[in-house]
Amino acid sequence: MIGRKKIRRSVIKGTACICFAIAAFALALQSARAQPPYSITVTTDRNSYSRGDVVTITGTITPPDQGVDVGVEVRGPGGATIWIDIVTTDFSGNYFSQFRLDPSAPYGVYTVWASPTGSNTNSWCEFTIPQAAETTTTVTISGRTYTIVRVVTTAVPQTTVTEFAGTVTVGTTVRVVTGTTETKLTKETTSVTLTQTQTTLSKETTSLTLTETETTTVQIFDPVRLVKWWASEPAVQVGVPIFLVGVAPAVLIFAIIRRRRKQEKRRMEELDRLEGKSQAEE
């Protein structure tokens, strides 16, 4: 009888363990499914642009999550919306939106807003289109003449040329016949970096040297990134500790109960055997 009571107690304990494990599982599942509140960053690839430039907007949500919709809005100096986009985050929680400024875009300060869906939060940054003396002028590279489509008056020692009308090699000297120090040339799919080696020789002439040629972006599948993404999954973050705290002890307790039951069974068999023996003796 005592053995049965013990078994009953063990069964109650076991049931309690199951309930605990179910509760833990439900909690883990709920935590994994619930959309966490995200914080967001937003930035543009440059602080100032000229009319007709391509504006690249990037940012990240925290905690990093894939497939989260992010609303992007750009407002001009007058407050009018000039760009709107809904983009989705990648494995690392990054998002990206790109557009070209209108050739007649007003000068002034532009505000970029980004908001992750359903998070009651947003972030913003600014860029400007400075009122610069934009003139069409010519540039001579290795004896060939090209048209400059952008002239920036700010004295930045290095600028990236994303458009260029011709093939150039490293070390080519670019003579710019203009009063400014930074230039942008035309052609798609070519990216070269112009580094200013000499400041304005005279008010009309600037000498620039090409230090890099074409750059190519190659997307490679990165398994390490995938592992990082797995590690950053909230389901894993919640599920593993819950597993360790909830299910593992429950399984251990069940094992103990089973072992005790076996012992009890063996004891009862022994008792039966002894009883039979004593009856036989009587």
Binding site: G67, G71, F99, R100, S115, A235, V240, V247, F254, R258
Partner: protein, 159 residues
Amino acid sequence: MRKPQKRRFPSALWVISLTLLVLLTLSIAPPARAAPYVITIVSVETTDQAGNPRNVFWRGELVMIKVKLSCPGGGYSPVSYPYIQFVRTTSPDLRMVYLGFMSSTISSGENQSSTSGFTVPLTATTGQYKVKVMLSNTLPSNPQFQALAEPKQTTFTVI
């Protein structure tokens, strides 16, 4: 002679615990985070003035963009969702040539259709133009922003 009772409970316990383990493992597996969209953009198509589907236009022609929406659900007490529909058209060189806003409300179980349009500028560059339709409750500059449908895209060519 007293026979020890044969109990099936321990094996049942093991079955339950193993089931729990399997379920937990499944929960640890990365869930496909499906956004809770309440509206579906069924289709986006470009048409001519007469409403005939067309995806090649000349400069100066009118491009009509027809959007069909549906809101799943319904029943005895349909829920209404106010929304803003953005129709954005970008040129091959990423310049936005058209941005249309439309504010409306859709109820669960309802299907809606809307058409907006613009004239291809005479100075427009030739090539493939992208039309993207997005739905949200407000503008992204508002922290309450929420995408209400998965954005849908279509293209047309200007020759």
